[in-house]
């Protein structure tokens, strides 16, 4: 299962140190607010369950994320460590073709067939990798769409 870990600290770093931090920790994202001296690092993890993810996050924070910050700012204060399952957190609102297919119980190819049909939600963005929709709108479409009977059209039988 895919998880995200995020650690938040209070520390003061300059731009070069932030660039180096982002590179050295291989974090998915490094956020820094210069007014509040708040740093937030986010990284992807793989773990079978929540307990394993929590331990992975703890190890990541203490051995990879925090030490480089403390090298530049020894007084750096860790204020938060969070772990969340992918799909429920920051990008949980978004669905690409694969996620939309899972939500609708169809194949990604079928999603590409029906995406232009009336009633299908408009994409949030159309990126090089494909369209992105709001997951809740796709879910609503899946619950409320009228399904055709499907199958081969019946042959018309002339009246006697």
């Amino acid at each position: 299962m895919a998880w995200d870990a995020e650690v938040e600290l209070v520390a003061e770093l300059d731009q070069d140190q932030l660039d180096a931090l982002a590179h050295d920790t291989a974090a998915l994202a490094v956020y820094y607010n210069s007014a509040g001296r708040m740093i937030r690092l986010r990284s992807s993890l793989r773990a079978d369950d929540f307990d394993a993810a929590l331990e992975e996050a703890r190890v990541w924070a203490s051995t990879i994320a925090v030490p480089p910050i403390r090298k530049h700012w020894p007084e750096a204060l860790v204020v938060r460590l969070a772990v969340e399952q992918r799909g429920f957190g920051g990008s949980g609102w978004a669905a690409g073709a694969k996620e939309a297919a899972e939500l609708l119980g169809v194949s990604p190819a079928r999603v590409r067939q029906i995406e232009g049909q009336p009633g299908f939600p408009a994409p949030v963005a159309d990126l090089a990798g494909g369209a992105v929709w709001r997951a809740d709108e796709v879910e609503t479409y899946g619950r409320t769409r009228v399904r055709g009977k499907g199958g081969r059209p019946r042959k018309a039988v002339p009246e006697a």
């Binding site: 590179h23 956020y31 007014a35 920051g90 609102w93």
Partner: protein
């Protein structure tokens, strides 16, 4: 960096810059976005990472409707 991810990030970066974010690509797979006192360094490796980047920037004020504007 995967070609698709690079293209997607370039699209996002271009629009973000148009909407007032300062953007620079610091390394081949790393992007720095800045708005006021807020700084983000992103290193997306797959499509879900790109979606995360987009969601963060939207929360920071990026108008996503502009991506679909004709």
């Amino acid at each position: 960096m995967d070609h698709t991810i690079g293209e997607s990030m370039a699209t996002i970066a271009e629009e973000a810059e148009r909407q007032g974010f300062q953007v620079r690509q610091t390394r081949s797979a790393m992007w720095h976005f800045r708005k006021g006192n807020d700084n983000w360094h992103f290193s997306p490796r797959n499509v879900l990472d790109v979606l995360y980047v987009l969601s963060v920037l939207i929360e920071a004020g990026l108008d996503w409707k502009a991506f679909n504007a004709d």
